[in-house]
């Protein structure tokens, strides 16, 4: 047991008015901990507190009660004896009458009533007593906000947890609740209050019960909050959002049908308000409430609701404003929020009282007038704005009428369809007379909307097995009778489009109509097979023949895509056959023939949009695509044809951007990728001599991308097949020294000789084969088996020396994915990572990098060209080594350290001694490629070694490199003796730092800042380094904006500012100047003592920058200047004079 003095001290510290809130909270926690651990019983605590709970000093009493209440809230899960609970709830119930201690009493009651399960709960009779005391004693609206909130919480808790007991209090409960809500204005309290009403209503489900007599009062309390409108200024933080509050009120409104006589008239009244907000809210509430009140109660309001809705849909002021932007997409209006909600409500009413509503619609004067005057709306452009809007409104009403039920569909068809048909000039089946005059736009539009509604109805009822019933319906008969003529009419609108006499809106309606007729689902279709086929023929003829009218072409293609995906989903085999025969075959054959009437990009768009609607279609197109790809490729290989070059390039791009990714996305189609890769290899294997072409590089890279994508998606075993096949072709290429590479002895010789040649010596075919082979290798999965790794490695080592980058990337990829040596493996046929590393480290690439340019063996006794050549090869070797290093680094191999040391030694290779006939520039080239090798190591590459191409990636590998390289470079920089070496070291450093994630850099900020600033100085001297300078500046600004490192920045403020000022006038790159000024602006927030000495200098150089040629820089300069000036004026009021003095010299 805890000793009582400690306990008393804790109590006193809480009750004491002079202690801080933190101390009070601490003492509560301490007491709660004592009770929880059974060091103190509640009884003894209450005994200790007796004085505080009963004293006449109302402040102490209030604090004491609060202490007990809050303590109980902390002990929600602590089991308590039932007697304890009983006496405590008795106490708090009594205290509810004591308004001075009410806060604590409310908290205590709430804590006790909320207790759950077997930890000791309040009995129902006691809960009833709480409710009675509450209703009798608490005047909710006279309390402050926090207490009101507690009151509502208490009420809610009573209603939810003790409904069966509370329910008997009806004659006091409902008026009591009405009274406590009346006049409430706080959003949080209102949320609770609305919820209470909802729960309360559910307590009395009987419509004739006690609630009925109070419904008026209760609703009166709710109604004054509608529509929810916040008067708070925006800045004030309120936890409750307007939408949430509005939703809760809506639920309360709809909680009982008893509210219906009051709610609906109120909502209808607000609907006629001029406030858009009130309109939208009323519509939302009406939709929700009509669901809850039920069809019978709503029936009497249908007429009023309809007339209100019609007004909104007919004359919505908002949609008038947006009207003119519609031309692009035919007659579709951008609907305002109000209209959208109105249409939702219309649907609701249709669901409930479809017959009543359709009666009203059919006899509606306005609709009738619009439909009757449809003759006037012949041409889209001739229709006045208001009429367009009216047309649109009637269209949507017809659509929803047809969609809602079979009965209303019949009625609306009977009422309006004949009139429309007359306006269109169709009198009977197969009437052809109409083709002489242009069709009536208004009638076409309404017709299409009506048809769309019918289609939606059929789709909706399809699951209910009523399709047989539909066929016998009246509207169905009418539609079937006219379907053929309608189809003709719609097709006709497309024909007139050719001579430009029809507007886009007309075309839109026509195409939409055709699409709807063609996609009636299931067994039910108003059109026969031949009509269906004629629709498809019409659309396909537009797509394949008429690419001059881009709008129509796009519409028709979109319609075909819709029809295609519909056919693909439905089980209708007859339609599928027709679609296949007419559309798919036509497009496939279209691809095969060398028809130049349509540009290739359009053809490819057709394929990628229609093909993606169904697997079988795409497979069919694939043959066509493949044929034309092979044909165009062979055209390029054999004749060097520039036309074919372009075709092949765009075909390959289509493969790698659209077709292959689509097959990938539907899954289970690896065969396609596999087949594609093999086909390309097969063709290359067959054609033995290539014709060199000047611009084939673009084609080659497109081919490599497609090949890489295809191989990357294949399964491992298929990849093995591809690589074997490719290797076979590689072997058969006699011009490549593969056979020599097979042999251990000759291979060294070959490496030596071959590498002296540059890329130009490789024949075109060799180059293709090597490049494609490299892209296959780069895309392999680690599980794929490569048969001749050793030979392949040697080959790539040779080719990459001639500057072939894909070879170097493939090398890195092999090294990244090779398996590690396992002890009990049969060593003879498995080539492990260790073997590969040995091979590389004994190769010429490695020795070239290690021997430095001055002491290479050739240098002494050979002429100038061969030395120059040698230097070139050396820089290629360094690049190759960088890719190999990247592979090693990403898998986290230790050897990467040796490699980094080698790269750094290349970077430092001293050229000054010896009198070689080469210029300094050429040595610099080698050093620079060594420095840039670090960029390769640390940056992400799209072409290889990424997740898509299955690279082995250890987490945090960039951070690892950073921690390896940083200490070495830092010590080398301090030791470096020539300026060139320093510059190169800084370059390497910059590459590493800018590629490393900022969080890693930040942890080393202290060490880095001086070096970063120095490197900015050194690198900004050479214009070629501008991108690197920008990267470093970004790193620096990253460090500066990190709040935690501000003391590091502070320490180095003077050197940073000096450097930034210099960069402010960096002439070669605008963003550098801009960023430098932004950094300076950020620096102005540093402590004044640090910045003050630099002030004049900064301001003066800013004066110059205000005259910068670039606008963005000038704007930044103004901002920076303002930041500097205002800050300094704040500290030193006399400063403006100095500052003005500087300026007024120039006025």
């Amino acid at each position: 047991m805890a000793d009582s003095t400690h306990c008393v001290k804790l109590i006193e510290s809480f009750v004491d008015s002079s202690s801080t809130p933190a101390q009070q909270a601490a003492s509560i926690d301490a007491i709660a901990a004592l009770v929880k651990n059974d060091m103190l019983t509640l009884e003894s605590l209450v005994r200790e507190m007796a004085m505080y709970l009963t004293t006449t000093d109302s402040f102490l009493r209030a604090r004491g009660t609060l202490l007990l209440g809050e303590l109980l809230a902390c002990l929600a899960s602590k089991p308590l004896e039932s007697e304890t609970v009983l006496s405590l709830i008795g106490f708090f119930t009594e205290r509810l009458a004591d308004w001075k201690a009410l806060h604590g009493a409310l908290i205590g009651c709430l804590a006790l009533l909320r207790r759950k399960g077997n930890v000791g709960v309040v009995s129902s009779s006691k809960a009833l007593a709480v409710a009675q005391s509450y209703l009798q004693n608490v005047q909710v609206q006279s309390l402050r906000q926090s207490d009101r909130k507690l009151c509502f919480e208490l009420l809610g808790c009573l209603l939810e947890r003790y409904p069966d007991d509370i329910v008997h209090l009806d004659d006091v409960l409902i008026p009591g609740i009405c009274e406590s809500i009346d006049g409430e204005k706080d959003p949080e309290c209102l949320m609770l209050a609305f919820h209470i009403v909802e729960v309360l209503v559910h307590l009395y489900p009987d419509p004739t019960g006690p609630l009925a007599s109070f419904a008026t009062d209760l609703f009166e309390n709710l109604s004054c909050y509608f529509p929810i409108h916040f008067t708070h200024p925006k800045g004030e933080d309120i936890d409750v959002k307007k939408e949430e509050l509005s939703r809760t009120l809506m639920v309360a409104f709809a909680s009982t049908p008893l509210f219906e006589p009051f709610a609906i008239p109120l909502l209808l009244e607000k609907l006629s308000s001029s406030l858009p907000l009130a309109k939208v809210e009323s519509l939302k509430y009406l939709s929700y409430c009509s669901d809850k009140y039920g069809a019978a109660r709503m029936a009497k309001h249908v007429k009023v609701i309809w007339s209100a809705l019609k007004d909104i849909i007919y004359t919505s002021p908002e949609s008038v404003l947006l009207l003119e932007s519609e031309i692009v997409d035919g007659m579709s209006f951008q609907e305002s929020h109000t209209v959208t909600e109105a249409l939702i409500l219309l649907q609701k009413v249709f669901c409930q009282n479809s017959d009543l509503l359709i009666d009203l619609i059919v006899i509606d004067e306005d609709i009738k007038k619009t439909v009757d005057s449809i003759y006037q709306f012949k041409e889209y452009t001739g229709i006045p704005l208001a009429d367009k809007q009216r047309l649109h409104a009637v269209g949507s009403i017809l659509y929803f009428s047809a969609k809602s039920s079979i009965g209303s569909c019949n009625r609306v068809f009977e009422a309006f369809f004949p009139c429309l048909i007359n306006a269109l000039g169709i009198s009977a089946e197969n009437s052809v007379a109409l083709l002489s005059s242009p069709c009536n736009f208004g009638a076409t539009y309404l017709c299409v909307e009506l048809l769309a509604g019918c289609r939606a109805l059929v789709v909706r009822t399809k699951g209910n097995a009523t399709s047989n019933v539909i066929v016998q319906e009246a509207w169905c008969d009418i539609l079937c009778t006219y379907s053929t003529s309608l189809t003709k009419l719609f097709s006709f609108t497309l024909i007139t489009g050719v001579d430009g006499s029809t507007q886009n809106a007309c075309l839109h309606s026509g195409v939409k109509g055709l699409q709807i007729l063609a996609t009636f689902p299931g067994d039910f279709s108003p059109i026969s097979k031949s009509v269906y086929e004629s629709i498809l023929l019409k659309l396909i003829s537009v797509v394949t023949g008429n690419c001059k009218d881009a709008f129509l072409w796009k519409l028709a293609l979109k319609a075909l895509v819709e029809v295609g995906s519909f056919v693909d989903k439905s089980e209708d085999t007859e339609k599928a056959q027709s679609f296949n025969a007419i559309v798919v075959d036509k497009i496939a054959s279209f691809m095969l023939c060398d028809d130049l009437s349509m540009p290739l990009p359009l053809k490819l768009e057709i394929i990628s949009s229609i093909g993606t609607t169904g697997l079988s279609y795409m497979q069919k197109f694939l043959q066509g695509l493949e044929c034309s790809l092979l044909a165009s490729l062979s055209g390029v290989y054999v004749r060097g044809d520039p036309e074919n070059l372009e075709i092949a390039t765009s075909l390959l791009e289509c493969y790698s951007c659209d077709v292959l990714p689509w097959f990938d996305s539907i899954g289970g189609q690896e065969e396609v990728q596999f087949h594609f890769a093999l086909t390309i290899w097969g063709q290359i294997g067959n054609i033995l001599s290539f014709c060199a072409s000047s611009q084939e590089q673009k084609l080659l890279s497109a081919a490599m991308t497609a090949m890489q994508y295809a191989v990357g998606r294949c399964l491992a075993e298929n990849q093995t097949v591809i690589i074997d096949r490719a290797f076979g072709i590689l072997l058969s290429t006699t011009s490549l020294p593969i056979n020599d590479l097979m042999d251990e002895i000759t291979s060294v010789k070959v490496e030596g000789y071959k590498s002296n040649d540059d890329l130009g010596c490789m024949s075109c075919r060799e180059k293709w084969i090597i490049s494609l082979f490299a892209s296959v290798v780069a895309a392999l999965r680690p599980q794929a088996h490569i048969a001749n790794v050793k030979v392949i490695l040697r080959l790539f080592l040779t080719t990459q020396l001639s500057g072939h980058v894909p070879s170097a990337q493939a090398l890195g990829s092999i090294i990244n994915k090779l398996p590690v040596k396992v002890e009990n493996m049969d060593a003879s046929n498995v080539f492990s990572l260790e073997d590969a590393i040995d091979l590389i480290f004994s190769s010429r690439v490695w020795s070239l990098c290690n021997e430095g340019p001055t002491n290479c063996s050739v240098a002494r006794n050979n002429n100038e060209t061969s030395i120059r050549n040698n230097l070139l090869i050396q820089s290629h070797a360094i690049e190759g080594l960088a890719w190999i290093g990247k592979g090693l680094l990403m898998r986290g191999h230790e050897k990467v350290k040796d490699l980094i040391v080698t790269l750094l030694s290349c970077l430092l290779s001293n050229h000054s001694e010896g009198s070689l006939p080469c210029t300094e520039q050429e040595f610099l080239c080698v050093m620079r490629s060594a420095a840039d090798a670090f960029h390769i190591l640390v940056s992400d590459s799209e072409a290889c070694l990424n997740k898509r191409l299955h690279a082995t990636i250890r987490p945090l590998y960039k951070q690892r490199l950073f921690s390896i390289v940083l200490p070495i470079i830092l010590s080398l920089i301090s030791k470096a003796d020539s300026s060139i070496q320093r510059a190169m070291l800084y370059r390497a450093f910059a590459n590493v730092v800018s590629g490393t994630p900022l969080s890693a850099v930040l942890s080393e900020a202290k060490k880095l800042i001086p070096i970063l600033v120095d490197s900015l100085f050194v690198l900004s001297e050479d214009i070629l380094n501008k991108d690197i300078v920008y990267c470093i500046l970004l790193v620096l600004s990253g460090i500066m904006t990190d709040k935690k490192r501000s003391e590091v920045v502070e320490e180095n403020a003077h050197i940073i500012v000096r450097r930034l000022i210099a960069l402010m006038s960096y002439p070669h790159m605008m963003v550098i100047r801009e960023t430098a000024i932004q950094c300076l602006t950020a620096m102005s927030e540093l402590p004044h003592a640090r910045i003050y000495p630099m002030r004049t200098q900064v301001l003066l150089s800013l004066l110059k920058t205000l005259d910068d040629p670039k606008r963005a820089v000038r704007l930044e300069a103004v901002k920076c200047r303002q930041a500097c000036v205002s800050y300094m004026e704040f500290i030193y009021p006399q400063l403006p004079r100095v500052h003005i003095a500087i300026q007024s010299r120039h006025i």
Partner: protein, 164 residues
């Protein structure tokens, strides 16, 4: 300072739409001068400087009240000369000098120092037009005004939104 507002009910006009900067940064030639002699573009730039200045009396910008319009600014970059003509909202507006001072300080802080800035009240829009013009273009008096902490506070207050 002043007991009542000089113009209690100013007319607030609709703002002209701001033209976005043309051309993306990437495509631009690094060394091309975004020419200061290109009158329209550069006067717009100036507008970006002064159009956001707040009115001393009301929470509106000078542009809202049409005190400053795009046409009221003349720029000659070659001769390093700017002239701003502003229109006070009422004829006897005692805020005219403060507005003018705001304009001058803003331009001083935003323009290269080679510029000569000339600030005038539009002819016929102010009762003491000549006096105001003289006061605004007298560099000693401007300097003296800026040594008055109250005035500097007021000016800074007006300029604050234009730097955002």
């Amino acid at each position: 300072m002043v007991a009542g507002l000089i113009n209690a009910n100013p007319i607030v006009y609709e703002k002209k739409e701001r033209r976005p900067r043309t051309g993306s940064v990437v495509l631009e030639d690094e060394y091309a001068v975004e020419s200061i002699d290109h009158m329209v573009v550069f006067s717009l730039t100036f507008l970006h400087h002064i159009r956001d200045i707040k009115d001393p009396e009301h929470p509106y910008s000078l542009e809202d009240l049409k005190v400053i319009t795009e046409d009221a600014i003349e720029v000659d970059d070659k001769r390093s000369y700017v002239r701003v003509t502003f229109t006070p909202t009422v004829e006897h507006c005692s805020m005219a000098t403060v507005i003018g001072l705001c304009l001058r300080v803003k331009l001083m802080r935003s323009l290269p120092s080679r510029y000569k800035v000339d600030i005038r009240v539009a002819p016929g829009t102010h009762a003491t037009e000549a006096a105001v013009n003289k006061q605004l273009n007298d560099k000693e008096r401007v300097a003296a005004a800026l040594e008055n902490p109250n005035l500097v506070d007021m000016v800074d207050d007006c300029l604050a939104p234009s730097f955002e």
